[in-house]
C-alpha cells in the first residue's frame, strides 16, 4: 500500500499542498528546521485513524482537511480526513471502506510507533528499562503484532495475580485468604459431622452400656431385695428370738429325753444325728400318740378314782359278806358253811308266790271242803221236801188237748178240699165250722192244762237238779280233798327244799322262806357286786395295760428307764404306771409345748408369703422352719442378730444408693440414646458443609478465573516474545549487525520476560544485558533494526515515515542504514524526512530510484538530489 497523491488543504503549516505521483519506494523529503517535517510526520501518523483532539498536532487554520489517494493491491482508494472525524475511505466504485482495512487493522499505536516514530520519541527509548508504562508499550510494539496489547500484560497479569492472591493466596491453599472462613466453616462442620458419625458408635455403646446397667440394676435390685429379705428375716428372728431360744431349749430338753441310738427312720437321706433322729422319732411318736396321751392324762384321775372306788367297793363287799354269813348262821345254825348252804338252797325252785298260793290253797281247800260237806247236807233236806210237794198235784196232759185240736183242723181241711170237687157250698161251710170248733176247743182246754203241767214239771226238774247238784258237790268234794292232799305234799317238799327239818313247818315256812330268800338275794347281790368289781378291775387292768403299753411304746423313744410292768397288784402296778406315765406326760407336755411353740412359729412363718419367700430365698428349702432355725443357729445371741441387722441396714443403704445412682445413669443413657436416635447433627453438619462449600466454590471459581487470566496473559506474553525472538529478533539481529558493521551480532530478549528490555551481544562476545548500557547511537540503531525487522513482517506493506531518526549515527553506520532502508524501499513506500545533506548524498549514492522533495515553509516541491543537497547545504 502506498500513497499515490496527497492533498493537504488545511493542516498546520500546510495549506493547499499537493504531492502528486509520490514514489511508491523511497521518498526523501528534505527541509530545514521548521519547514514542516514534524507536521508532515504527524499528518501521516494520524491520517489512517483520525486526528486527536489535543495539542499534540499543529492547529488548523480553519478546519483540518486532507485528501489522499492510495493504492493497495492494485486498487485505488480515496481517503478524506475532515476535521476530527474518522477518515472516510471510498474505493474506485465509491464504496465505503475503513481506514483500518487499508492499514491491515494495525492498531493505531503500533502503526504510529512502527511506521511513524519520531526522533524525540526514540530518544525516550533509553527510559524503557525504567519501567514506565508508555515506554513499555513502545517496547511491545517493537516486538511485533499485538504487542501493543501485550505491553499491558505484565501489569494486567500482576493485577489478576493480586486479585487471585487476595482471594486465595499465592498457592490457592484453601486455608488462606478469603477461602479461610469457608474452609474453617467446612472444617468445623466436618468435625461436627465426624462427631456425629461417631454417634452410631456411641449409640451402640450406649445401648450396650444401657443393657449392662440395666442388668446391673437388676442385680442390685435383687441384691437389695435379698438384703431386705435378710433384714426382714433378721427382724423376724429378733422378734422371735426369745421364742426360738425357748423352743431350742425345749428341744434340747426333749433331745435329752429322746432315746438316741434307735433309729426307726427308714429315710436314708436323712443324715442327721441320732439324737435328732431320736427326737424326731420321739416327736413323731408323741404326735401320733398325742390324743392317746392326752386322753390318758385326762383319764388319769378318773382311773385313779376308779381304782380307789374299786378298792372301796371290794372292802365293802367283803364286809357285807361277813354280815351275811353271820346272819345266815343265825338263821340256820346247822349250816357249817352257811354261804355254801345258802347257795345250795335252790330258792329258784320255790316261787314265793307259789308257796304262798299253796299255803293259801291249803287253807282255802280246807275251808271249801267244810262248805261243800254242809251244802250236801242242805240238799238232802230239800229233796225230801220237794218229793212231798209233788204228790199233791193232778192234771190232764196238754199234749192230748193239742192232738184233738189238730184232728178237728185236719177234718176241716179235708172237708174244704172236698168242696173243690163237689160243687156244694155247704161243704165249705161245713169245713169252716169244723175249723172253728177246733179253735174253740184248743183255746178253752189247753191253757190250764199247760199251767199245771208246767208246775209239776218244775218241781220235778228242781228235784232232779238238786239231786244232780248233790252229786256234783260230792264230786267236787272228792276233788278238793285230792287237791288238799296234793298241796300238803308240795308244802312238805318246800320245807324239805328249804332245809326245814321241823314238822310244824307250815307255821313258819313262809317267813323262813322270806328270810332265806332275802339272804340269798343279798348274797347274790354281793356276788354281783363282787363280779362287777372284778369287771371293773379287769377294765382297770385293761386301762392300765393301755397306759402301760403307751409307756412301753414310748420307752422305745425315750431315754428314761421306765419300770416295765412286772406282775404286781393293781395298786402297786397302777402306782408304778402312773409314776411312769407322769414322767411320760412330762415329756409329752414338753414335746407338746415344743411342738406347739414350734408350730406356732411355723404358722407365723407360713402365714406370710413374704416370710416364706425370704426363707425360701435363703436356703432354697421347702422347710421354712428349718431355714429359720438354721438362721437362728447362725447367731450366738440376740445382740449378734442386732449387730448383723445393723450391718445389713448399712449394706442396704449402700446398695440403695448404688441403685439410685444406676437408675440415674440409666435415665441419662436413655435420654442420650433418644437424643442420638433423633439427632440431626449430621444433617446440620452437611448443610453447613454444603453452604460453606458453595461459597468456597464461588471463591475458588473466582480464584481460578483470576489465576487463569494471569496464566493466559503470561503464556500469551511468553509466546509472543518467543515468537518475536524467532520471527523478529533474528532478522533484527542481522540488520543491527549490518548497521553496526558487524559490531553487534546478536539481539535477544532478556531472560526475565517480565522486563521490557533487550539483550545485546557484540562480535567479541560482550553481552549488554540492558539497553541502558548502550550508547545513544547504538540504542537508536538497535531500535531501528527492530523496527525494520518488524515492518518487514507486516504484510501487505505500509508506508513508513522516518523523521531524522538516523541523526546520531556516525557516517559509516548511517551509510549502512541507508543501504538497508534503500533495500526496504523496494517493498515499502518510505518517507525520509531529513535536514542532513550527507544522508541525501548517501541515498543518492546507494540508489537512483529515490524521489526527492524539497519542503520549505510548508510548501512541497518535487526536486532532485542535487537541488535538495544544495538547499540543505546552505
Amino acid at each position: 500500500m502506498y500513497y499515490k497523491n496527497l492533498y493537504i488543504r488545511d493542516f498546520g503549516i500546510f495549506n493547499n499542498q499537493n504531492l502528486n505521483n509520490i514514489s511508491k519506494n523511497l521518498v526523501v523529503i528534505g527541509g530545514k528546521n521548521r519547514a514542516g517535517k514534524s507536521s508532515f510526520l504527524k499528518l501521516l501518523r494520524y491520517l489512517p485513524y483520525g486526528l486527536p483532539q489535543n495539542d499534540s498536532i499543529p492547529p488548523a487554520r480553519n478546519q483540518y482537511y486532507i485528501e489522499a489517494e492510495l493504492e493497495k493491491e492494485n486498487k485505488n482508494y480515496n481517503l478524506i480526513l475532515n476535521g476530527y472525524s474518522s477518515p472516510e475511505v471510498l474505493d474506485q466504485n465509491q464504496e465505503q471502506h475503513t481506514a483500518a482495512q487499508l492499514f491491515n487493522h494495525l492498531d493505531q499505536l503500533s502503526y504510529q510507533h512502527l511506521f511513524s516514530i519520531s526522533l524525540d520519541e526514540l530518544q525516550h527509548l533509553s527510559k524503557i528499562a525504567k519501567g514506565k508504562k508508555k515506554e513499555k508499550r513502545l517496547f511491545s510494539i517493537l516486538l511485533g503484532a499485538g504487542f501493543s496489547e501485550l505491553v499491558k500484560v505484565p501489569e494486567l497479569a500482576d493485577k489478576y495475580h493480586t486479585n487471585a492472591k487476595k482471594i486465595g493466596g499465592i498457592l490457592g491453599d484453601p486455608a488462606v485468604a478469603s477461602f479461610k472462613p469457608y474452609y474453617n466453616e467446612i472444617k468445623t462442620a466436618e468435625e461436627m459431622r465426624d462427631q456425629a458419625l461417631l454417634e452410631i458408635k456411641e449409640f451402640n455403646q450406649k445401648r450396650e452400656e444401657l443393657q449392662q446397667s440395666q442388668e446391673k440394676l437388676k442385680q442390685k435390685k435383687d441384691k437389695i431385695e435379698n438384703l431386705k429379705q435378710r433384714y426382714f428375716l433378721l427382724d423376724l428372728l429378733k422378734n422371735n428370738y426369745l421364742e426360738l431360744e425357748e423352743i431350742e431349749e425345749l428341744k434340747a430338753e426333749l433331745e435329752k429325753e429322746a432315746a438316741g441310738p434307735i433309729n426307726f427312720d427308714s429315710d436314708k437321706s436323712n443324715q442327721e444325728s441320732n439324737t435328732q433322729r431320736g427326737l424326731a422319732n420321739l416327736l413323731s411318736f408323741f404326735k401320733s400318740q398325742s390324743k392317746k396321751v392326752k386322753k390318758q392324762q385326762q383319764n388319769e384321775e378318773v382311773l385313779k378314782e376308779k381304782i380307789k372306788n374299786y378298792q372301796l367297793q371290794k372292802v365293802k363287799i367283803n364286809n357285807n359278806l361277813q354280815v351275811l354269813i353271820s346272819e345266815v348262821e343265825s338263821l340256820n345254825s346247822s349250816w357249817e358253811k352257811p354261804l355254801q348252804e345258802l347257795e345250795k338252797i335252790e330258792t329258784d325252785l320255790i316261787q314265793e308266790q307259789r308257796l304262798n298260793k299253796k299255803l293259801r290253797e291249803y287253807k282255802q281247800l280246807t275251808a271249801e271242803i267244810e262248805k261243800i260237806e254242809s251244802d250236801i247236807n242242805d240238799l238232802v233236806f230239800e229233796i225230801e221236801e220237794k218229793n212231798l210237794q209233788l204228790k199233791d198235784i193232778k192234771f190232764k196232759m196238754p199234749e192230748t188237748i193239742l192232738k184233738r185240736s189238730y184232728m178237728i183242723i185236719a177234718l176241716a181241711v179235708i172237708t174244704l178240699s172236698t168242696s173243690f170237687f163237689v160243687d156244694y157250698s155247704q161243704i165249705t161251710y161245713l169245713a169252716i165250722i169244723f175249723a172253728l170248733t177246733a179253735f174253740i176247743y184248743y183255746s178253752s182246754n189247753y191253757k190250764s192244762s199247760k199251767l199245771n203241767k208246767e208246775r209239776t214239771d218244775k218241781i220235778k226238774n228242781e228235784i232232779k237238779s238238786e239231786k244232780k247238784k248233790r252229786k256234783v258237790l260230792k264230786q267236787q268234794l272228792k276233788i278238793k280233798i285230792d287237791q288238799l292232799t296234793e298241796t300238803e305234799a308240795d308244802l312238805e317238799n318246800y320245807a324239805h327244799i328249804l332245809g326245814i327239818t321241823e314238822a310244824d313247818y307250815l307255821e313258819f315256812i313262809d317267813s323262813y322262806f322270806g328270810e332265806i330268800k332275802e339272804k340269798k338275794r343279798r348274797y347274790r347281790e354281793l356276788k354281783v357286786e363282787e363280779r362287777d368289781n372284778k369287771e371293773k378291775r379287769k377294765e382297770l387292768e385293761e386301762n392300765l395295760k393301755q397306759l402301760n403299753d403307751l409307756i412301753f411304746n414310748a420307752a422305745v423313744y425315750c431315754s428314761h428307764d421306765f419300770n416295765t410292768t412286772a406282775e404286781m397288784n393293781l395298786i402297786n402296778k397302777s402306782q408304778t404306771i402312773f409314776k411312769d406315765f407322769n414322767i411320760l406326760v412330762d415329756i409329752w407336755t414338753l414335746s407338746e409345748e415344743y411342738l406347739s411353740k414350734k408350730s406356732q412359729l411355723e404358722y407365723i412363718l407360713k402365714s406370710s408369703d413374704k416370710i416364706k419367700n425370704a426363707l425360701n430365698e435363703k436356703n432354697g428349702e421347702e422347710d421354712y422352719y428349718q431355714s429359720f432355725i438354721s438362721l437362728y443357729g447362725e447367731f450366738s445371741s440376740m445382740t449378734a442378730v442386732e449387730e448383723r441387722k445393723r450391718e445389713l441396714s448399712e449394706q442396704l443403704n449402700f446398695f440403695k444408693e448404688e441403685k439410685s445412682s444406676l437408675e440415674e445413669k440409666i435415665t441419662t443413657l436413655k435420654n442420650r440414646i433418644d437424643d442420638l436416635s433423633s439427632s440431626s447433627k449430621i444433617e446440620k453438619a452437611q448443610q453447613k458443609i454444603d453452604q460453606a462449600q458453595n461459597n468456597l466454590e464461588k471463591k475458588a471459581r473466582n480464584y481460578a478465573v483470576n489465576k487463569s487470566v494471569n496464566f493466559i496473559l503470561k503464556k500469551l506474553r511468553s509466546r509472543m516474545i518467543e515468537k518475536a525472538e524467532k520471527e523478529l529478533l533474528e532478522p533484527a539481529s542481522e540488520i543491527l549487525s549490518r548497521i553496526s558493521s558487524q559490531y553487534y551480532t546478536d539481539l535477544k530478549t532478556p531472560a526475565d520476560l517480565d522486563q521490557s528490555d533487550f539483550k545485546v551481544i557484540t562480535e567479541n562476545g560482550k553481552v549488554f544485558n540492558s539497553v541502558q548500557q548502550l550508547s545513544r547511537g547504538s540504542l537508536e540503531q538497535l531500535f531501528l533494526a527492530v523496527r525494520i525487522s518488524r515492518i518487514r513482517e507486516i504484510k501487505p506493506a505500509l508506508p513508513l515515515v522516518l523523521d531524522d531518526s538516523l541523526v546520531n549515527f556516525d557516517r559509516s553506520h548511517l551509510y549502512n542504514t541507508a543501504e538497508i532502508i534503500s533495500n526496504l524501499a523496494s517493498q515499502h513506500q518510505i518517507f525520509i524526512l531529513s535536514c542532513h545533506p550527507h544522508l541525501v548524498s548517501f541515498i543518492s549514492r546507494i540508489t537512483d530510484s529515490a524521489q526527492y522533495w524539497k519542503l520549505e515553509e510548508g510548501k512541497f516541491e518535487l526536486s532532485d538530489q542535487e537541488k535538495l543537497l544544495d538547499h540543505l547545504s546552505y
Partner: protein, 438 residues
C-alpha cells in the same frame, strides 16, 4: 418356562445425605429438602407395593459414608419392615459408601433384607410359588475402595432362571478404587441376564441384552446430578425377556438455568430481574406439565442460575457482585416460596463480562484475539499445558476427580468447568487487553 418376575433396581441412595440446597433458614424448605431422600425412598416403597414387585435390589451405597446416622438406619428398618409386610424381599450389596454394610447396621433388620457378603460372591435363590424363580448374585464392598475384580466370580450355575448380578462399580478398567471392570468383561459372563450396577449417579443403559443398567441415584444431592432421578422397574416374562422402565421417584430435582445476556440489550438490573423471572416461570410451567403425567410429583427444583455473556450490566454486577447476588437470591426465593412446584434458587453464578462494541471486528482482525483463542484451545487440549493451568489454580482445585473421594474444601475442574473458567478469563483478557481503546 419359568415364573415371571418383577423387581426394582436401585442404587446410590445415600440415605440421609443432605441435599445441597444452600438453605438453612426456612423450615418449609428444610422439610422438603431434608425429607427428599426419604420421600424418594418412600416413593420407591410405594412403587414396589403398587407394582407388587417380588423384590428390590440395591446395588450399593444405600447409606452415605458421611451421613450415616441412627435415624437413617431406623428409617431403613421401618421401610424394610413395611416391605416385609407386603412380602417384598430386599437384596443389598454395600458399596464404597457403606462397605461391609450389614455389620454396621444399628438395628437388627427384618428377615426380608438380604445383605451380600463382602468376603465372596453369594447367590441368593428367589423362590416364587415354591419354585425357583430367580437368582441374585452379589458381593459387598469390604472397604471404601474395592480393587477386586469381583465380576469374575459372578458365576450362576445355569441359565434355567433369570440371573441378576449386583455390582457396585465405576465400570472403568482404570479405576482401581471401584471394581475395575469394563462392559465387555461383564458381557463375557453369559449366564447373567441382568447386570444391576451402582455407583454412577446418572441413569445409564449400558447394554440392552443382556441388560446392563445404572439406575442412578434415587434422589440427586447436588447440582452436578441434574435431571430426574429414580429407579428401574424390571419385568421379566416367562421367556426371560425383560422390559425395563425408568421410574422417576425423586421429589426434588436439580437443574442449572443458563441465562446468556450476550445478545440482550439490558439497561438496568430491573430488566435483568424480569428476564430471570421469565426463565424461572418457564421452568416452573414445564415442571407442572411434567407433573401432570407423573405419579410421583416433583415438589421442588433446586436451580443454579448461571448468568453469562458480555453485557452492559457487567459494570453493575462487578461493582458489587455479592450484594447483587444476595438481593436476587432473596427476591426470587421469596417469590417462589408459595409456588408449587417451587423453584428454589440454590445460587446465582455471574459469569458476565463487559460488553465490547467492536467485539466482532476484534474477533475478525485482531491477531492477538486469535492468539488468545488458540492458546485457550491449546490449554484445554494439551495435557501438559492443562496440568500447568490446573497447577496455577492452586491446591483448592486439587480435589479428587471422583466426587466421592474429594475433600470438601477442594474442587475438581472437569473439562466443562475448565472451559467455563477459561471462557470467563478470556472475556476478561479480551476486555482488558483489546477491548478498551484509550
Amino acid at each position: 418356562m419359568v415364573q415371571s418376575i418383577k423387581f426394582i433396581h436401585t442404587a446410590d441412595i445415600h440415605l440421609a445425605k443432605e441435599l445441597s440446597s444452600n438453605s438453612l433458614s426456612n423450615h418449609k424448605l428444610e422439610n422438603i429438602f431434608s425429607r427428599a431422600g426419604k420421600n424418594a425412598f418412600e416413593n420407591l416403597v410405594k412403587l414396589a407395593v403398587s407394582e407388587a414387585v417380588d423384590f428390590i435390589i440395591i446395588a450399593g451405597d444405600l447409606y452415605d459414608r458421611e451421613a450415616r446416622s441412627i435415624k437413617s438406619s431406623r428409617f431403613f428398618l421401618k421401610q424394610a419392615q413395611q416391605l416385609e409386610n407386603q412380602g417384598i424381599e430386599i437384596f443389598v450389596i454395600s458399596g464404597n459408601h457403606d462397605p461391609a454394610g450389614v455389620e454396621k447396621e444399628v438395628f437388627e433388620l427384618p428377615a426380608n433384607v438380604h445383605y451380600f457378603s463382602s468376603q465372596e460372591v453369594e447367590i441368593y435363590e428367589y423362590h416364587k410359588g415354591g419354585k425357583l424363580a430367580a437368582r441374585i448374585l452379589g458381593q459387598s464392598y469390604r472397604q471404601k475402595f474395592e480393587s477386586r475384580t469381583m465380576y469374575n466370580f459372578y458365576t450362576a450355575p445355569d441359565q434355567s432362571v433369570f440371573n441378576i448380578a449386583l455390582l457396585h462399580t465405576a465400570l472403568s478398567k482404570d479405576n482401581n478404587r471401584y471394581v475395575p471392570v469394563n462392559k465387555n468383561e461383564l458381557l463375557s459372563k453369559t449366564e447373567i441376564n441382568y447386570w444391576a450396577l451402582g455407583h454412577l449417579h446418572q441413569y445409564q443403559r449400558v447394554n440392552d441384552k443382556p441388560a446392563v443398567y445404572f439406575p442412578g441415584t434415587l434422589q440427586a444431592h447436588n447440582i452436578s446430578e441434574q435431571g430426574r432421578k429414580g429407579a428401574i422397574l424390571v419385568e421379566v416374562d416367562s421367556n426371560l425377556n425383560t422390559k425395563e422402565k425408568f421410574m422417576s421417584l425423586a421429589p426434588v430435582i436439580f437443574k442449572e438455568i443458563k441465562l446468556d445476556l450476550e445478545a440482550k440489550k439490558l439497561n438496568n438490573i430491573t430488566e435483568l430481574q424480569q428476564l430471570i423471572a421469565k426463565k424461572i416461570n418457564n421452568l416452573a410451567e414445564k415442571i407442572r406439565l411434567q407433573n401432570r403425567n407423573q405419579k410421583y410429583k416433583i415438589e421442588a427444583v433446586i436451580t443454579r442460575l448461571v448468568i453469562k455473556g458480555r453485557t452492559e450490566l457487567h459494570y453493575y454486577i462487578e461493582s458489587d457482585r455479592e450484594e447483587l447476588e444476595e438481593t436476587l437470591l432473596e427476591e426470587f426465593r421469596a417469590r417462589q416460596l408459595n409456588e408449587s412446584p417451587f423453584i428454589w434458587l440454590h445460587s446465582i453464578l455471574f459469569r458476565t463480562a463487559n460488553s465490547l462494541s467492536n467485539l466482532d471486528e476484534l474477533k475478525d482482525n485482531n491477531p492477538l484475539y486469535q492468539n488468545i483463542q488458540d492458546l485457550i484451545d491449546e490449554i484445554l487440549t494439551d495435557e501438559e499445558l492443562n496440568q500447568e493451568l490446573l497447577a496455577e489454580w492452586g491446591q483448592i482445585w486439587q480435589g479428587d476427580q471422583n466426587p466421592e473421594d474429594r475433600d470438601n474444601h477442594r474442587f475438581y475442574a472437569d473439562q466443562k468447568l475448565q472451559q467455563e473458567i477459561l471462557t470467563d478469563a478470556e472475556k476478561i483478557i479480551i476486555t482488558e487487553l483489546i477491548g478498551d481503546e484509550d
